[in-house]
Amino acid sequence: MKARIKFAKYGTMKYVGHLDIMRYFQKVIRRSGIPIKYSEGFNPHQIMSFAAPLGVGLTSSGEYMDIEMVEDIPCDEALKAISNEMVDEMEVLSFKYLPEKATNAMASVMASTYSLTYKHPQEFDFTLEELISYKKKFFDDSDEINVIKKTKKGEREVDLKPLIYDFDIVNGADIADFDDTLDKRPDIVFLINVSTGSNDNIKPEFVLYHFFKSIGIDTKERSSFYIHRIDMLTRNKDEKLISLDDVGFLV
């Protein structure tokens, strides 16, 4: 059966890039001894695929990979075997089997939720209330947010509005499960839920770049914010966004 593994990556591990994380997991799985399936040929490799790659410098509590097993062992056993092989600041959160017809992690990601905080708060001189009122104008009350997006094929104009599913600005103290790797909870946290995937892939810092641009501030996207991916979401048969983790089931 196919299985889905959810993991978190934080602290110093955020500087380890996606390709290295893939290699890391291959070794972890081999060490753990869980019965993963290998491809045929002279250089057999594990059947393993990852959901949307996380950029260097980002932390996450909602990363996913799917693997194929030759033998279905109980979920808690597999979870324990893999957890035992983790380095500090990498954590396996769940191991679940997938229904037979489930789309793979990569193809099923539709949206991601993020929290963003200032890297250098002294550069931003706004109160939470001010930001919320600017955001109301930029997002809640606007019908469209037309911006230029650079892609591999060139530049094109896109309307961000339908691609941003949620946009909130809150005090860090008010969030229940906050990314605890930061030293203290910041006063201002941007919570953004955006479209993710091969078609309309929107980065949260891109949203903030345009938000700040709308109030006359130039941000440097990646180097202005700590970015934490909270989770990745897909749509269930009612078109509702649900966590990728909720697709699987425990055995």
């Binding site: 602290g11 500087y15 890039g17 290295d20 890391y24 070794k27 081999r30 380095v87 600041e89």
Partner: protein
């Protein structure tokens, strides 16, 4: 979050930040405040190269087995980070604790190739340790060097407090115990410690010795400045390899290191005695690890790393007594489930071809031969036992088994080399191609591809060729051109490829390999003018080195191009590797004058001197 020496802004600005984190799998974590000795182990090149080095992993394991020592790692910051560290005044740090190197008791630097010498100065400089040993105070770490380049430590002697000559397994405990004792007794000074340390076998403290020179620049005398300091330093050798520490739980980098696999050291030393090869002399006698130990290590290390590949390390794996048994064990008991074995270059014969066909895709893999010289005459001069028949026979077998790619390695500029020897290189390539096309068309696998590569010969200390002259850059290139032109005259030229190395680096490597203490001024000058990462062709700046030599009066004529007299005092004569200078002289004579080979140690002992160490091949099957 784990402590980091570099800020998020810096880590996000530089290339490959994973080089500097120290958070890898299997890393050793200790509380620095609870140990007596903090040891920073450095490989003076970039992380991916340094992490691949087995020797350092062995020492890391060995030192960390002691509860009173914490050994951490440090590598050369890549030029992008180097610039930032200089700009922002960030001290160089060890990976594990991220603490500045200046907080450590020892900075150990492994010296694997001469072209890393400016990187040593980079390490010292960024660590805020005075570059010249004489300028250091009691507060600075003790800087100690080890590895193959210490067999002539003189060009870098004035940058080091100590050198460890030989295999690290033997005397490090004595050195650390001495340090601990002196520190705890409160009777420590750098000077006193170095003086005492110089009495430990294998330890060379350059400041305890004095050199005088003749008018022609050669060495007049070399000796200790105190009566209780030994006149010669004996190489330390671990006779029972099974007893040595081995990293069965090695660190697994996140980044792809050059060696991204389990490495089994199967033996040390080589029975062959090629006359250009330093490793073949300084690791005598040949000693093997026992099969059972290797089998255990293989299993244990695959389990502890999760690597998908396992490989063997030695100078000549084909000579390992139990090779078939070992390889079959690896294939049968370790491979499968995504684990492969990567074979080192084995002698091509029925056994190795059979093994290769099991573990590699024949269509993609190639055969490797290292004849080192094109003609039989020159192969006799260098004592390379491989004959043309051996090569043609091996290649023939392989071609019939479906292979069609061959790689051949040679050296140019060997002693006594003539134009005929150079031309023999592509001629040999052509003969191999002829052998291929003898196979009926319907039974062979398209065209064959014979690739010949040449490097330029660099004479190394403690080899029979240590007295040999080098050539100027233009002459090396002329020789490469002869090979290239001759190749284009060959019948099968369309199946032949040829590539050759840069000549600039070769000459400089030769200078550094056989230099004396005076050469340190040029290295310092080169570093000051901006040379680092000289081993990387993108960074090597020949003009800066030329200017540095010019300014410090170091001449290639003297150090590189000169034929040395057999009776000259060589800078490394004070080291006793237990292979006698007499043997070297006999070998020189057999090479240059008689042009005959010396049998390998398994066939017959040639009395090199290493027998006095009391073990290894010298006693094998000879009671």
């Amino acid at each position: 979050m784990k402590k980091l020496a570099l800020s998020d802004d810096i880590l996000m600005e530089i290339d490959k930040p994973a080089r500097y984190l120290g958070n890898e799998m299997n890393v050793v974590v200790k509380d620095p405040s609870k140990v007596d000795v903090r040891f920073a182990m450095c490989f003076p090149d970039v992380y991916e190269i340094g992490m691949s080095h087995l020797g350092i992993q062995i020492l890391y394991e060995m030192l960390n087995r002691r509860d009173d020592v914490y050994c951490e790692r440090v590598y050369s910051p890549w030029p992008d980070l180097h610039e930032i560290m200089v700009r922002d005044n960030i001290p160089l740090f060890a990976l594990e604790s991220q603490d500045p190197i200046s907080d450590f008791d020892f900075l150990g630097i492994t010296l694997q190739y001469e072209m890393c010498y400016t990187n040593i100065l980079q390490i010292l400089d960024l660590s805020n340790i005075p570059i010249w040993a004489k300028d250091r105070s009691d507060e600075n770490p003790i800087v100690i060097g080890g590895g193959p380049c210490t067999y002539n430590p003189e060009p870098i002697a004035e940058f080091f407090d100590l050198f460890y000559i030989g295999e690290g397994e033997v005397c490090y405990d004595a050195l650390l115990d001495l340090y601990k004792k002196m520190k705890n007794s409160g009777d420590y000074s750098r000077e006193k410690f170095l003086h005492e340390a110089s009495k430990i076998p294998g330890i060379y403290a350059p400041s305890m010795y004095e050199v005088t020179y003749n008018e022609d620049g050669t060495i007049a005398s070399f000796g200790p400045i105190y009566d209780d300091v030994p006149r010669t330093i004996k190489r330390q050798v671990l006779m029972d390899l099974d007893s040595g520490a081995y990293p069965t739980n090695p660190i697994v980098p996140f980044m792809r290191a050059t060696q991204d696999r389990v490495v089994l050291e199967i033996q040390r030393g080589c029975i062959r005695g090629c006359r250009f090869c330093q490793a073949g002399m300084i690791y005598r006698p040949n000693r093997e690890k026992s099969l059972d130990v290797l089998k255990d290590y293989a299993k244990e290390m695959l389990a502890s790393t999760g690597h998908e590949e396992i490989s063997l390390s030695s100078l000549s794996s084909s000579d390992y007594t139990d090779l078939p048994e070992l390889v079959n064990f690896l294939i049968d008991d370790c491979c499968g489930n995504g684990v492969n074995i990567s074979l080192p270059s084995l002698r091509i014969d029925a056994f190795s071809l059979d093994v290769m066909s099991k573990v590699q895709d024949i269509k993609k893999s190639s055969l490797t031969f290292a004849p080192e010289a094109g003609s039989q005459r020159l192969r006799n001069v260098i004592n390379k036992g491989l004959t043309k028949d051996d090569i043609l026979q091996g290649a023939g077998l392989a071609f019939e088994g479906g292979w069609n790619k061959v790689k051949l390695y040679f050296m140019l500029g060997l002693p006594t080399e003539t134009e005929e020897d150079m031309r023999a290189i592509p001629e040999l390539g052509n003969d191999i191609a002829v052998r291929y096309y003898e196979i009926p068309k319907d039974q062979r696998n398209g065209k064959c591809q014979i690739t010949m590569s040449t490097s330029f010969f660099v004479p190394k200390p403690f080899t029979p060729f240590q007295w040999a002259p080098m050539y100027e850059k233009g002459e090396y290139l002329r020789r490469a051109k002869i090979v290239n032109d001759t190749m284009h005259e060959q019948l099968n030229r369309k199946s032949l490829r040829y590539n050759w190395h840069e000549a600039d680096v070769t000459v400089l490597e030769g200078l550094l390999a056989r230099g004396d203490r005076k050469v340190s001024a040029a290295i310092y000058e080169a570093y000051k003018s901006g040379c680092i990462f000289d081993a990387w062709s993108d960074y090597f700046d020949c003009d800066k080195w030329d200017a540095a030599m010019e300014k410090t009066g170091i001449s290639l004529d003297f150090y590189a191009y000169r034929q040395r007299d057999l009776d000259e005092n060589l800078p490394w004569d004070f080291i006793d590797i237990e292979v006698t200078k007499d043997f070297m002289k006999r070998e020189w004579d057999k090479a240059i004058n008689q042009q005959v080979v010396t049998p390998n140690c398994r066939m017959q002992c040639s009395g090199c001197g290493a027998k006095s160490l009391g073990g290894g091949i010298c006693y094998e099957g000879k009671n």
